[in-house]
């Protein structure tokens, strides 16, 4: 068996797969990049070739102007992949956002999985995480502290609907990251029976459209910019977190400020963001999911890319599991969690 350290190198700017000359989620432009998902801290523009799932490539085309059709880029549905320099790459569902994938690499009898970002619980907008057995499991740790235990999503959605109904003369403005969180909140609302039009900030429009093209039914969406203020009373409005409490929100009828994020679990965090209605809805694994996944995957070694590495490292130590922190840079933990 090959020694992983001879063929895979963690660098601050990404993970380098040496025999294939391929980087995974590099934070600077490289010749060849394999990309786990479309969030800006994992997918960047300017690479020579991009290897990703079809959905991730479509997202990169929309957000960063990547040419998804160009012959130097390649799209692989879940379960499929490619071989380069003796390394077999394949993409497997990560359950984080539309198109998000774990990347499995096999080389000289050794298997390494890079999760990118992931979660375990059901999400109507993307394929559910699959456990991929491996020797080295490279995991995220955004919520790598035992204080982070996300409540059931349906409870948080019920809280949101309850808040709208409690004050029908106001609107509820939900801050939700433009890729993934916004569409998930909408889809969860639909699943809970909220059939009314949902009003969105212009910055969400294109991504919602992309999701719809990929078969995620979001129901009727209307633009806030094309709606009378009064018509949004008693309605749900979604905007990127940066638009909360900004001038844009003045066009809404006395909005209740909500935010959908795993960080909302901590009261002071929610207060700092001036949130009145915190919704603990996250696209990242919580503490129980992170630790359960390490047990399920049962790797020989766990590498931790970003987040609260110290907490997850400590857990591995307590459970006699070999682990190390990689200290990748440029991961944006605040906005999309």
């Amino acid at each position: 068996m090959a020694k992983a350290k001879t063929w895979i190198e963690p660098h601050p700017s990404g993970i380098y797969v040496k025999p294939a000359d391929v980087w995974i989620d590099p934070s600077r432009p490289v010749e060849r990049a394999a990309v786990t998902h479309g969030h800006a801290d994992h997918a960047r523009s300017g690479h020579g070739s991009v290897y990703a799932t079809p959905e991730t490539l479509a997202i990169m085309a929309l957000r960063y102007g990547v040419d998804a059709e160009a012959s130097h880029n390649a799209a692989f549905p879940y379960g499929e992949g490619f071989e380069r320099g003796g390394v077999r790459f394949s993409f497997h569902p990560a359950g984080h956002v539309l198109g998000s994938a774990q990347i499995l690499m096999e080389y000289a009898g050794e298997r390494i999985v890079v999760t990118g970002d992931y979660k375990r619980r059901a999400d109507p907008t993307c394929a559910r995480f699959e456990v991929v057995p491996c020797d080295i499991f490279v995991t995220e740790a955004t919520f790598g502290l035992p204080v982070f235990r996300h409540p059931p999503t349906e409870d948080e959605i019920a809280k949101l609907i309850g808040a709208v109904r409690a004050e029908p003369e106001r609107s509820v403005l939900v801050g939700a990251y433009a890729l993934g969180k916004a569409q998930r909140v909408i889809a969860e609302l639909r699943g809970a029976g909220w059939d009314a039009p949902i009003y969105i900030h212009g910055a969400l429009e294109k991504m919602c459209h992309l999701y719809a093209i990929h078969g995620v039914d979001l129901g009727e969406l209307r633009l806030v910019s094309e709606t009378d203020k009064a018509a949004m009373a008693g309605q749900i409005v979604l905007a990127p977190p940066s638009a909360l409490n900004d001038r844009w929100s003045r066009r809404l009828p006395d909005p209740v400020t909500a935010m959908a994020s795993g960080w909302m679990r901590v009261r002071q965090r929610a207060r700092q963001r001036m949130v009145e209605l915190p919704l603990v809805i996250s696209d990242h694994a919580d503490w129980d999911e992170l630790t359960a996944t390490i047990i399920d995957v049962n790797p020989k070694e766990t590498w931790i890319t970003h987040g609260s590495e110290d907490g997850l490292l400590r857990w591995c130590e307590l459970h006699q599991r070999k682990a190390r922190a990689l200290h990748l840079v440029g991961r944006d933990l605040e906005e999309e969690a």
Binding site: P146, T257, V266, R267, G311
Partner: protein, 522 residues
Amino acid sequence: MKRFAALIDRLIYTRSRNSKLALIVDYLKHTPDPDRGWAIAALTESLDFPAVKAGTVRALLATRVDEELFRLSRHFVGDTAETAALLWPDAPGAKDDPSVSQAVDALASASRSDAPAIVASLLDRLDADGRYALLKLALGGMRVGVSARLAKQAFAQAFGVPVDDVEELWHAIPPPYAPLFAWGEGRAERPDLADVAFFRPFMLAHPLAEESIDFADYAAEWKWDGIRVQIVHGGGETRIYSRGGEEISSAFPELVAAFDQDAVIDGELLVRGEAQGGEAASFNALQQRLGRKTVSKKMLADYPAFVRVYDLLGVDGEDLRGLPWSERRARLEAFMPRLAASHFDLSQVIDAKDFDDLAERRAGARDAAIEGVMLKRRDAPYVAGRRAGLWYKWKRDPLTADCVMMYAQRGNGRRASFYSDYTFGCWSAEGELLPVGKAYSGFTDEELKWLDKFVRDHTLNRFGPVREVEKSLVLEVAFDSIHASKRHKSGLAMRFPRISRIRRDKPAEEADRIATLLAMAT
């Protein structure tokens, strides 16, 4: 505990006072005794369980959670109660959700030795939000922005009773206030307050708008720049109450000890400043003594407190509030010798000949502890609240300085989308702009819109919620006084700064110098 946990969670995220009030009113109306009484006592920090401290909780957590993970989590969350509530492992099986009063009874019965077991068994019966509520109840530090005053207003509103009555009764009845709720709901008579050191709602003053009162009807006194207090001795106990009816006795033990007469006085609490030759020092000095639960010997020695007495509300069991001011004043002057002169002196009446004479003296007053003058109608009884025509406050004209806007921050609530809090500075001798204060009032809604746009159009840097702006806008800032302060780089601190004018006409270079402000300092 579920209802109480939901209430505090809503209060944490609700910023408007009226919305907080509505939440408490609803809770009081729809929660049975004694839970609601304990809950309101917890919200106003009126409960103490000596056997249960933060250390107890930390030690308890160490038995269930790895210490290193607790330390990392505590560091991230920043609050022991919240960290513990989130980390406590969910007990298997159904949770029976103990009531607030069951929790209070259990915590109150705890001794040092069995406290951990008692807290553990309560935590096992609750979910994460319930655990947070329980630990805040046990440890205090609720920080949900509910003052005693707000709680009393909520009670008055919930049961349709006068808030003045609630204020009087509140401190006379210990939690969980069962007789108070019984009275509020019309199930019982108003509780009898004989032999209790209860709070009498303050009589308040209107600002003097038109200088056209008939001076002969009024007595004038200096308005001292301290804090308004009421000292009550009754039932063998002395209590000091602040303006809002909060009990602050523990912060001023020397006054509690010195006040040994069966009486109720109204006066201004001040500290004696050495610089003033034993006279009343500025508010700045008094601030050192405020907000403390315990006071060190050094504090007592460095900032000795005394009360300048201006009214006598009761003495030897007799309620004087119905008497006209002139009679109360005579009774007060006769009473003063019964108090220790070291800690109590009489607020003097200004013997102005007429209104013009008073105006002249007011203009000439530059004592650090004088804020202006008070005018009190000679034939007026002592009545709660602010009644037209009885008492007036006539503050000294504010000082002003031309300052340059340096930073801006977004406001709260209705102002959350506006940059409405401004930090401004003046020029040092070296030509550097140094911050001298922060203001978030004094402007109209129109001016706020203009200022907000100015900030957005002239941003140089962003630091989280704060924006640094181009140093080009002059603001005329009004303030009541200015003091030397080690806390600020400029060495100055303003009292009650507010924006009085936007000086779009004035170039920033012509704003005031620090030296000019220093010359105004008291």
